[in-house]
């Protein structure tokens, strides 16, 4: 639940996809292990996206956010409610809050553009709060070479209102912007409990994965 891996999102993570194409937006929410399976469009969820006459550049700096709460029951993930009035340029945020649910993934298609939380491609955000202090080296599990470091430190929370100040700090998000193979900032220092927003653009499909998980993957193989 607390691990950093966009391939398998937990109840603390969020996945946001900017809707760049009009028409049908089709998506499935799956257990993370099935994240790479082809989408079954006949059973997938479907939302209409209205065309936006604004230019691509204007759409880039505008758009509303729509949230899709995800639930887990009988071994399946479901969208609790689907967004209405979705307009090209808006964004959809997926989050599931059940701490007992397994990791999940979102795969979908808008127009001819495919998107997936297991392969972050374009105008997509993966958020993850860091609960334990330490040095987290993250990499793209798909091997693009993209990566960075998050240093998480316990903020001194002693003295009057220390805990209050430390909790308030949790409401301050930090952005890591990834464009192609460029990461900014490459190294980031945050307080325990803070959330990092990995904003991804123009890649071939990357993951945000704690490098120690890949070491375990290799051992398992």
């Amino acid at each position: 639940m607390y691990t950093l891996d966009s391939r398998s999102m937990g109840p603390l993570d969020c996945f946001v996809q900017k809707v760049t194409e009009p028409g049908d937006l089709v998506f499935e929410i799956r257990k993370s292990a099935a994240g790479f399976f082809p989408m079954e469009k006949d059973v997938a969820m479907r939302v209409k996206v209205k065309a936006n006459k604004a230019s691509r550049a204007q759409q880039r700096t505008s758009g509303k956010q729509h949230s899709v709460p995800v639930t887990y029951s009988d071994g399946e993930f479901q969208a609790k409610s689907l967004p209405r009035d979705l307009v090209q340029g808006d964004a959809i945020l997926f989050h599931q809050a059940d701490t007992k649910a397994p990791g999940f993934a979102v795969v979908g298609q808008m127009g001819k553009t495919e998107f997936s939380s297991t392969e972050l491609r374009d105008q997509v955000v993966f958020t993850h709060p860091f609960g334990l202090p330490g040095r987290y080296q993250w990499v793209d599990a798909n091997g693009s070479g993209v990566g960075g470091v998050i240093v998480v430190e316990n903020e001194p929370a002693t003295g009057k209102d220390g805990a209050k100040r430390a909790i308030e700090r949790m409401s301050e998000g930090v952005v890591v912007h990834i464009v192609g193979n460029k990461v900014k900032p490459k190294e980031l220092r945050i307080a325990t409990g803070q959330t990092v927003f990995f904003a991804v653009e123009g890649t071939d499909g990357i993951t945000i994965t704690d490098v120690t998980l890949l070491a375990k993957d290799k051992k398992a193989n």
């Binding site: 639940m1 607390y2 109840p11 603390l12 969020c14 946001v16 900017k18 880039r60 700096t61 505008s62 758009g63 956010q65 949230s67 709460p69 964004a91 945020l93 989050h95 809050a97 701490t99 105008q123 955000v125 958020t127 709060p129 609960g131 334990l132 202090p133 316990n154 903020e155 001194p156 929370a157 002693t158 220390g162 805990a163 430390a166 909790i167 700090r169 949790m170 409401s171 301050e172 998000g173 952005v175 912007h177 307080a191 325990t192 409990g193 959330t195 927003f197 904003a199 653009e201």
Partner: protein, 269 residues
């Protein structure tokens, strides 16, 4: 008038006690008890050494400054939900290069875990003075003379408890460090939990633990077979001669010096 009388002075009685302490060796116990609001599991071992003997009529052996050398390990589980509020990551809104503003929902973390703390081990010595009563008894084919504790002494444990408190709070801090998202509440958690693991709470646990080793404590200071051969077989018409100790009593007699006296009656075996 007894058939046989054996007497030792206080110095010799001290040697008997010292030998008996060594013979008793190290005893071990384990159990659980209250440590403030927590239930602690513990294991302990203890042995005895030292002390000076003061014989007091009619049947008391007072041992001053005897050492109880002990090792105690205390472990406990702490349900952090008893101390900490449920933590939720607040809604976070932030501009992204391709979105004017993105807001995560308020995300509540799962309930806090129950963390294991310790066991914290401590070895120490506690010094006490108390009275033992002489007891002579038959045990199987032997006569035993033991000294058995009369009253459990009050032990001065606060200094030892303070060290254990330090160890426990250190162990709590260490265990807390591994709890996800406790960082902002770490200092608060250590302070809150530390406040209930005080010296009084540890003394309240340690006292009864050590008391178990003192309760009924006895040292066997003298042991002899009831039947003893006093003359060997010297020939066909001169068989071995044995006696049986038919009665044995132990007391302290005060004369020009205090003595531990054993009186034995014997009969032909």
């Amino acid at each position: 008038m007894s058939d046989i009388q054996v007497a030792v002075d206080e110095v010799q009685a001290g040697q008997l006690v010292s030998d008996a302490q060594a013979l008793l060796g190290t005893q071990s116990r384990s159990g659980s008890g209250s440590l403030g609001p927590f239930t602690a599991s513990w294991s302990a071992s203890a042995g005895f050494s030292g002390g000076s003997v003061d014989l007091r009529a009619p049947d008391i052996v007072r041992i001053s400054n005897m050492n109880m050398n002990f090792t105690v390990g205390i472990g406990l589980s702490i349900d952090l939900n008893d101390f900490l509020p449920r933590l939720c990551i607040p809604r976070i809104c932030i501009p992204i290069p391709f979105l004017p503003d993105i807001c995560t929902p308020r995300i509540c973390l799962p309930p806090w875990p129950t963390i294991p703390v310790g066991p914290v081990n401590h070895s120490g010595t506690v010094n006490f003075t108390t009275d033992f009563r002489l007891l002579a008894s038959q045990s199987g084919s032997n006569w035993n003379v033991a000294i058995q504790i009369v009253n459990i002494p009050s032990l001065s444990l606060d200094a030892i408890s303070a060290l254990i408190v330090t160890g426990l709070i250190g162990a709590v801090s260490l265990a807390l460090l591994a709890v996800p998202f406790i960082g902002p509440l770490l200092a608060l958690a250590v302070a809150t939990i530390g406040a209930v693991i005080g010296v009084a709470a540890v003394t309240g646990l340690l006292g009864p633990i050590l008391g178990l080793f003192l309760n009924g404590l006895s040292f066997d200071v003298y042991q002899q077979p009831q039947v003893q051969q006093v003359l060997p077989n010297m020939g066909p018409n001169d068989p071995a001669v044995s006696i049986r100790i038919s009665a044995l009593s132990a007391q302290v007699l005060v004369s020009d010096e205090d003595e531990l006296v054993l009186d034995a009656d014997i009969v032909p075996a």
